[in-house]
C-alpha cells in the first residue's frame, strides 16, 4: 500500500521554505508584542504559535491523500466553503464595522481565507477538463465567472475588499494561464475599456472620491496616507542593516497601524534593514518559483493548474502587501503569507503548501 517513492519524492524544499517564512513571521510578531505598544497582547504570540503548529498538521493531512481525489470532490469542497461564507453573513461576529469571523467555541475562523483555496480547486477542475490550445471562448468562461462571482459577492458584503479583490486576481491569473481565445480576449478587452468610463459617470461623487483615495492614499493625509508615510519611514529608517531585533522605534511607539497583521513587513524591515528585507523577499520569490516548478514537472493538467493557482495566490498576496507598505499600491488589507498574524491566514497558507507537496510527490505516478 505505502509506496516508498513517496518518501523519495517528498518535497523537503517546500516544507523548509514554509517553515522558514513562518519562523520569520513569529520573530517579527515577537518584536511587536514585546518591544511594540502591544505588550499587553503577548497572548497573540502564543496564539500564532499554536496556529502555526495546527497549520503544520493540516499541511500533513493535505499531502497524505492523493490530490486527484480533490478533482473528484472539487464541487463538494466549493459548496462547503460557500456555505461557510453564507454562515458568516448570518452568524458572523461584528468587528469594527465588518463581519468576517465565525466563532466556533474558543477559535474564530475567517472563511474568506479558505475560500481562496476552494476557488482554485474548482477552477483547476473546470479548466483541466475543458482546455484547448486555442484557449477559452466567452461561452466557456460563463461557468468559471459564475463560480468566482458568488464568493466575490459574499466577501464584498462582509465587507472585505482586499480578499474579494484577491479572489478575482487569483481566478484571473488562472484564466489567463489556461489562455483566453484571441477573439474573446479582444472582445473582453474593448468592452472593458468602454465600460470603465461609463461606470465612472454613473458613480456618485463620494464614491468617486473613495476610489480616488483608494488609488492614491495621499488624498487622505489623516488616515491611509498617514499610515503609509509612517510605514515608509519605518522601512526606510532600517537602512542597510536595520536597527536590530527589538530596536525598531516606529514599532515601539506604535506609529504603525495594524503592525501585527498588514504592516508586519514594516516592522521586519525596520529591524533587519535592506539585508534582512531583501532576504525575506528572496525567500518568497524562491517559494513561488519552486511552486511553479512543481506545476512545470507535473504531467497532469489538473495538478499543473492547481499548483499554478496556489502560486498565484501567494504571489499576489506578497506583491500587494509589500507593495502597499512601501507605498506602491493602494491600501488594501491583505496579509503577508506565513508572516502576518492571523490563524485563518496561516492555516490557509499551510494547506496551500500541503497541496503543492501533494502534487510534487505524486508526479512520478504518471511517468
Amino acid at each position: 500500500m505505502f509506496d516508498r517513492r513517496f518518501v523519495q519524492y517528498f518535497d523537503w524544499g517546500l516544507l523548509g521554505l514554509a517553515v522558514l517564512l513562518g519562523g520569520l513571521g513569529l520573530l517579527s510578531l515577537y518584536s511587536v508584542v514585546t518591544a511594540g505598544a502591544m505588550t499587553a497582547q503577548k497572548i497573540l504570540y502564543l496564539k500564532q504559535l499554536i496556529w502555526f503548529g495546527a497549520g503544520l498538521l493540516l499541511m500533513v493531512v493535505c499531502f497524505l491523500f492523493n490530490y486527484k481525489l480533490l478533482d473528484r470532490y472539487a464541487h463538494a469542497v466549493y459548496v462547503f466553503c460557500i456555505l461557510l461564507l453564507i454562515a458568516v453573513l448570518f452568524f458572523g461576529k461584528h468587528v469594527s464595522g465588518s463581519q468576517r469571523w465565525l466563532v466556533l467555541g474558543p477559535v474564530s475562523i475567517q472563511p474568506s481565507e479558505i475560500v481562496k483555496i476552494a476557488v482554485i480547486v474548482v477552477l483547476a477542475r473546470y479548466y483541466s477538463k475543458n482546455a484547448y490550445t486555442r484557449g477559452f471562448t466567452l461561452r466557456q468562461l460563463f461557468t468559471p465567472v459564475t463560480l468566482v462571482l458568488i464568493p466575490f459577492a459574499l466577501i464584498v458584503r462582509q465587507p472585505d475588499l482586499g480578499t474579494a479583490l484577491l479572489v478575482v486576481l487569483i481566478a484571473g491569473s488562472m484564466t489567463v494561464f489556461v489562455k483566453i481565445e484571441r477573439r474573446s480576449f479582444l472582445y473582453l478587452f474593448t468592452s472593458g475599456t468602454v465600460a470603465i468610463p461609463l461606470v465612472w459617470f454613473l458613480l456618485k461623487n463620494y464614491q468617486k472620491q473613495r476610489i480616488l483615495t483608494f488609488l492614491n492614499p495621499d488624498r487622505d493625509p489623516l488616515g491611509a496616507g498617514y499610515h503609509i508615510i509612517q510605514s515608509k519611514i519605518a522601512i526606510g529608517s532600517g537602512m542597510l542593516t536595520g536597527k536590530g531585533f527589538l530596536k525598531g522605534t516606529q514599532n515601539a511607539l506604535s506609529f504603525l497601524p495594524e503592525q501585527h497583521t498588514d504592516f508586519i513587513f514594516s516592522v521586519f524591515a525596520e529591524e533587519w534593514g535592506f539585508v534582512g528585507s531583501a532576504i525575506l523577499i528572496l525567500v518568497f520569490l524562491l517559494l513561488i518559483v519552486w511552486g511553479l516548478n512543481v506545476a512545470y514537472s507535473c504531467r497532469d493538467p489538473f495538478g499543473t493548474i492547481l499548483a499554478m493557482g496556489i502560486c498565484a495566490m501567494i504571489f499576489w498576496q506578497v506583491v500587494i502587501n509589500v507593495g502597499m507598505v512601501m507605498g506602491l499600491m493602494p491600501v488594501v488589507g491583505v496579509p503577508l503569507p506565513f508572516v502576518s498574524y492571523g490563524g485563518s491566514s496561516i492555516a490557509t497558507m499551510m494547506i496551500a503548501i500541503g497541496l503543492l507537496i501533494n502534487v510534487s510527490m505524486r508526479r512520478f505516478m504518471l511517468e
Binding site: L222, M239, F284, M308, V319, G323
Partner: protein
C-alpha cells in the same frame, strides 16, 4: 490545429509556465528596486525622520454650530479656551517643570502631577492636558517663561459658551465627553474617546447638525516637539447653525418669575405649534458643566433633591386639577350629557353613594350652567358631568386632546403622563374601578397625570379652534455660510373631536375665568389685551372628609398651582401652560407668570405690527 488538452501532453503548459515565471521575476524586481530606493537611497533621510518620530498628526477641531432664538438672538456660541498641556519627553525633569508651572497657574503642583498619573495610558510624546481654560494673566505668565518651562504648551481650543446664564438650560442642554457606550453603539464612527457630544436638550437632539467635521494636519516636529513644517492639511468643517422657535424674551420672563420656586412654563404659538418658551425651575449653569466639574460637584448636582437636571416642562407629571374641567366640559357637551342650558345647583357639596364630595367653595356656587361652571370652576357641576360621561369616555377625550400621549417634541426623555381607564386600574391594581373615582377624575384629581407641555398643546389646540400640532422646537438649520439646510413645517397630529358650538361655549367660559368678577383668575387680566384661561389647584395629598381648610400645611404638601391660558382671546397668538409646585393657588402663583409671558410676547408683536403699519404709511 487546436488541440484538446485532456491528455497528459504538457508541453503547452510548460511554455506558459515559463512565461509566468518571467512575469513573477519582473514584479519582484520592482519590489527590490523600491526597497533599495527606500532603505538605501532615502534611508538616511527617513532614519532622521524616525529618530524624533517627527511626522505627527494634529487634529483640527471643528467650530460647533451656533444656536439662535427665533429672532436671531444668539443663545450659544463658542469662545476661546486656553489649555495647558505637557509633553513628558520634552519636560524632563518633570517635577521641576511642574513646580515652576504651578506658581504661574496658582495651582498646587500635586494637582498637576495627579493629572498625569490619572492618564490611562501614559505616552511620553503625546500632550497631556494639565489645566483647561486658564485666565489671560496665566497665559501671559506661561508664555513669558516659555523657555523656563520645557515641554509645556498652551493651545487654544473653542469652548462652548452659553450666553444667558442658567437660561433655557434644560432646553439647550450641554456637552460632555462621549461615553464608552455611545462609542460602542456604532452611531458615531467619526468620534473618538475624549470627543465632546451633546448630552441633553438641543445639543443632543441636533448634535448631528451642530457637530461639524474635524480636520487635521500632518506636521513635522523637531526633537523638542516644536512644529517645523506643515506637510498636509485637511480643513475642519464648521457645524451648522440651529435656529430655535424659542423667543428668548418670553423664555427669560418665565424664568425670572419662576426663580425661587419649583415649576415649569411652556408657551406655544397656536397657529403653528412652535414652542415659544420651555422653562423649568430650578435650573443650572451649563458653563460650569462644560468647564469640568469635580466628581463631588457632579454628585452633589445629580443628587440634589430638587432635581435641577429634570426638565419639568416635559418630564414633570402633575395632576391637572381644575384645568382638566375644560376637557370634562367638552366631553359632556359632545356626548350630549349636558347642553348650554343645562343647570346644576351647587350647595357646596355633592352627595354620591353615601359620601359627600365637596366643592372648593364652601358656600356653593348656586345654580350654574356650563359657561359659569368653567368661569367659577364649580366642582359640583363637573362631578355630575363626569359621572354621566364615565371614566372610559373621559379617557378617550383626554387622548384626543393630547393628554397621556407623547407630544412628539424632538427632545429626549419626554414623559407620557397617565390617563386612567377602568381596564387600566383593574390591570394595575387588581381592584375594580369605583364610580366615585370618576368624580375625582372629572375635576382633575385622582390617577390623572399630565405634563406642562401636554397642557400647553391642549390649550393651544383649543385656542386655534381645534387643530393639534406637534410642538416644534426647531425653526431652521443653516450652514456656517448661511445656506439653508432644513426648515421645519407645522405638523398636524390631530383634530379635536369638538363641534364649533362646543368650542364657542368652552371659549366663552375660559374668557369669563379672567374677565368677569366671579372668574377665578382676575389676576391674569392685562390692560388692552383679552386673555382667556383656566386655573387649577392640584392636591398633593388627598383631602380627608371633615378636615378643614389646608392653610397650615407644611410647604412640601401644599397643592401645585396651575394656569393655562391663551391670548388675545379672539385671535390667539400665544398659548401658555404654567405649573408651580406647592404654589397653592393657580390664580395667585401661576396666573401672573402666564400673564407676564403673554405680555412679553404680544406687546413686542404689537409693537412690530405698529412699526410695520407706520412704515407702510410712510411710503404712501
Amino acid at each position: 490545429m487546436d488541440k484538446y488538452l485532456k491528455t497528459a501532453d504538457s508541453d503547452w503548459y510548460k511554455q506558459r509556465i515559463i512565461g509566468v515565471i518571467l512575469c513573477v521575476f519582473a514584479c519582484f524586481a520592482v519590489l527590490f528596486v523600491r526597497l533599495f530606493f527606500l532603505q538605501i537611497i532615502k534611508g538616511g533621510e527617513l532614519r532622521r525622520l524616525s529618530e524624533n518620530n517627527s511626522i505627527r498628526l494634529q487634529r483640527i477641531d471643528p467650530f460647533r454650530g451656533i444656536i439662535f432664538d427665533r429672532n436671531r438672538k444668539m443663545l450659544v456660541d463658542n469662545r476661546p479656551s486656553f489649555n495647558v498641556n505637557v509633553i513628558l519627553r520634552n519636560a524632563r525633569p518633570v517635577d521641576q517643570t511642574l513646580n515652576k508651572l504651578s506658581k504661574y497657574l496658582g495651582v498646587p503642583d500635586v494637582e498637576l502631577a495627579e493629572k498625569i498619573a490619572g492618564q490611562k495610558r501614559i505616552s511620553s510624546y503625546k500632550p497631556i492636558l494639565l489645566k483647561q481654560d486658564i485666565g489671560r494673566n496665566a497665559v501671559a505668565a506661561v508664555e513669558v517663561h516659555k523657555y523656563d518651562l520645557p515641554g509645556i504648551e498652551v493651545n487654544v481650543k473653542p469652548r462652548r459658551h452659553y450666553l444667558y446664564r442658567q437660561s433655557a438650560a434644560h432646553l439647550l442642554g450641554y456637552l460632555g465627553e462621549i461615553s464608552s457606550s455611545e462609542l460602542n453603539s456604532g452611531k458615531y464612527p467619526e468620534l473618538r474617546s475624549g470627543d465632546l457630544i451633546g448630552k441633553l436638550g438641543i445639543e443632543r437632539a441636533y448634535d448631528h447638525y451642530l457637530r461639524g467635521k474635524s480636520g487635521g494636519r500632518q506636521v513635522e516636529v523637531n526633537a523638542t516637539g516644536q512644529v517645523v513644517s506643515i506637510l498636509k492639511t485637511v480643513n475642519a468643517h464648521a457645524g451648522q447653525n440651529v435656529y430655535l422657535t424659542i423667543d428668548q424674551d418670553v423664555q427669560e420672563k418665565a424664568e425670572e418669575l419662576l426663580s425661587g420656586v419649583t415649576g415649569a412654563a411652556v408657551a406655544i404659538e397656536p397657529s403653528t405649534g412652535q414652542v415659544l418658551a420651555l422653562a423649568s425651575s430650578p435650573s443650572f449653569d451649563q458653563n460650569t458643566i462644560v468647564g469640568g466639574m469635580t466628581h463631588e460637584q457632579w454628585q452633589a448636582f445629580v443628587t440634589d433633591p430638587l432635581k435641577p437636571l429634570t426638565n419639568r416642562a416635559l418630564q414633570g407629571e402633575y395632576p391637572p386639577a381644575s384645568t382638566y374641567k375644560i376637557l370634562t366640559a367638552i366631553a359632556g357637551l359632545e356626548e350630549g350629557v349636558i347642553d348650554e342650558n343645562t343647570v346644576f345647583c351647587c350647595p357646596g357639596h355633592y352627595r354620591f353613594k353615601g359620601r359627600d364630595y365637596r366643592c372648593w367653595k364652601k358656600g356653593g356656587h348656586g345654580c350654574v350652567s356650563v359657561v359659569q361652571a368653567i368661569a367659577e370652576s364649580c366642582d359640583v357641576f363637573f362631578y355630575q358631568v363626569g359621572q354621566a360621561v364615565g371614566v372610559d369616555r373621559l379617557a378617550w377625550y383626554a387622548k384626543a386632546l393630547g393628554l397621556g400621549t407623547i407630544s412628539g417634541i424632538n427632545l429626549p426623555h419626554e414623559a407620557r403622563g397617565l390617563i386612567p381607564t377602568a381596564a387600566w386600574k383593574q390591570r394595575r391594581t387588581g381592584i375594580e374601578w369605583q364610580e366615585g373615582e370618576t368624580l375625582s377624575l372629572a375635576i382633575g384629581q385622582g390617577f390623572n397625570l399630565v405634563t406642562p407641555l401636554q397642557m400647553a398643546v391642549m390649550v393651544s389646540a383649543i385656542a386655534n379652534g381645534g387643530t393639534r400640532f406637534k410642538p416644534e422646537i426647531l425653526m431652521k438649520v443653516e450652514t456656517a455660510e448661511g445656506r439653508l439646510v432644513k426648515e421645519t413645517e407645522p405638523m398636524i397630529t390631530g383634530k379635536l373631536p369638538v363641534s364649533p358650538r362646543t368650542m364657542e361655549l368652552v371659549k366663552q367660559g375660559l374668557w369669563e375665568v379672567v374677565n368677569t368678577d366671579k372668574g377665578t383668575a382676575k389676576g391674569a387680566r392685562l390692560f388692552g389685551l383679552q386673555v382667556s384661561g383656566k386655573t387649577g389647584t392640584a392636591q398633593v395629598i388627598g383631602r380627608k372628609e371633615g378636615e378643614e381648610e389646608d392653610a397650615d400645611l407644611p410647604d412640601h404638601l401644599k397643592p401645585h398651582a396651575w394656569f393655562v391660558a391663551y391670548a388675545p382671546s379672539d385671535d390667539p397668538g400665544i398659548a401658555v401652560a404654567v405649573v408651580v409646585e406647592n404654589g397653592e393657588h393657580g390664580s395667585s402663583a401661576a396666573a401672573p407668570i402666564a400673564r407676564e409671558m403673554i405680555k412679553a410676547y404680544l406687546l413686542k408683536d404689537q409693537m412690530r405690527r405698529l412699526i410695520l403699519a407706520n412704515s407702510g404709511k410712510g411710503k404712501q
